[in-house]
């Protein structure tokens, strides 16, 4: 077990005994990635925050007896948040889908130029325009690094169906981001 995994295990054990500081450390460590998955899968920021909160609260509730694997807590959290998102999409209890990105409160820094922010917005919009299942498959495979089999297990579909969803998602994104792709390719032509 790696250092992070064993640290996660120790924090989970402490949280199971009611140690609020240990739980806060786990929240600090994992919330961003949990929220990122939820945002990409659900498109709606408020709904994504609800799901991220529920995911971490499930950790708090079930910390006692939770078996933290060799990869740490992240696989468990990823599975929980993914399942919650899939459940929401299936149940139809979706909030209004926001097609346009809300204005970001984060001020521009040296590292995030306006141009980069604009590119992020276009990519976000293209991702949000994907059908739910395509976006879910792409989120789990590309952003979360899950295998095709794992994606299929979470979504409850076959490997072939996962392949089909991924292929259609990338085709749609290529069409939606054609200009950005050309810019990138002209900046970095293939050798």
């Amino acid at each position: 077990m790696g250092a992070v995994a064993s640290d996660d295990a120790a924090l989970v054990a402490a949280a199971a005994k009611g140690d609020a500081d240990a739980f806060r450390t786990l929240v600090d460590r994992h919330l961003s990635s949990v929220l990122a998955v939820a945002r990409r899968m659900l498109r709606d920021d408020a709904e994504a925050e609800d799901v991220a909160q529920e995911t971490l609260l499930r950790l708090w509730r079930s910390a006692d007896g939770l078996d933290v694997g060799a990869m740490g807590l992240r696989p468990w959290l990823r599975r929980v948040v993914s399942n919650l998102c899939v459940d929401r999409m299936r149940s139809g209890k979706r909030l209004t889908v926001v097609e346009e990105l809300p204005e970001r409160a984060e001020p521009a820094t040296q590292h995030t130029s306006l141009e980069a922010q604009d590119a992020s917005r276009r990519v976000d919009a293209a991702l949000k325009a994907l059908p739910d299942r395509q976006r879910t498959a792409l989120t789990l495979f590309h952003y979360e690094g899950l295998s095709q089999v794992e994606v299929g297990q979470i979504m409850g579909i076959s490997d072939e169906a996962v392949e089909s969803l991924l292929a259609r998602a990338r085709r749609s994104l290529k069409a939606a981001l054609r200009e950005e792709l050309q810019e990138l390719l002209s900046d970095n032509p293939p050798e």
Binding site: A15, A16, K17, G18, D19, A20, F23, R24, V27, D28, L31, S32, L35, A36, R39, R40, D45, E49, A52, Q53, L56, L57, W60, R61, S62, A63, D64, G65, L101, R104, A105, E106, A116, Q117, A119, S120, R121, V123, D124, L127, L138, F141, H142, Y143, Q148, E163, L166, A167, R170, R171, L173, K174, L177, E180, L181, L184, L185, N188, P190, E191
Partner: protein
Amino acid sequence: MTKNNKQVADREALERLLEIYGADRTRWPARERLRFASVISDDDAASHMLAEAQALDTLLDRASRPSDAAVEALKDRIMAAAMREPPAKVSVATRPAASIRPAASVTSIWSRRRVLPAIAPRFAEWPAAAVLAASLVVGVMLGSAGTFDATMSQMAQVAGLQSAAPDSAGTVDSAQLALGDEIDSQYQYEDLL
């Protein structure tokens, strides 16, 4: 298969592979990695397809992440919600004071309800049943001893429906007792007329 046909088939297969797995070859199935290693190095069109897929992956990685302010605010909400509920199977003794629910009244009521059946004997209802049975026996005895009529007669006298004179001593219709109030109010109404 001619060389051209094989090239076309390879490109189509590579395009499909890139659409599914993206440009990161470590994500490709091992067999496909081996198959396309030489195709990409030998065919410019295949190489260009890989570059396009890499550009798409790069763009996907530019998707925005949640702002720090939003994440921090959410952390606080999660901690507040967590402190309102204890983690599973945690004894109060080991829980820090901050995480103990401040309002324990509802909890204590429920815990009392859960504890009571354990403390109280299983046949706690017996005294009530005994009183009910005793009432029944006393009622039967009074009825059979004829004291009921005497009691009714006394009640009728108190209510003024029967005089205490010996000539009027007799049975009294119990329905009269029940109608006593109505009869009184009827007399009052007739007086007004």
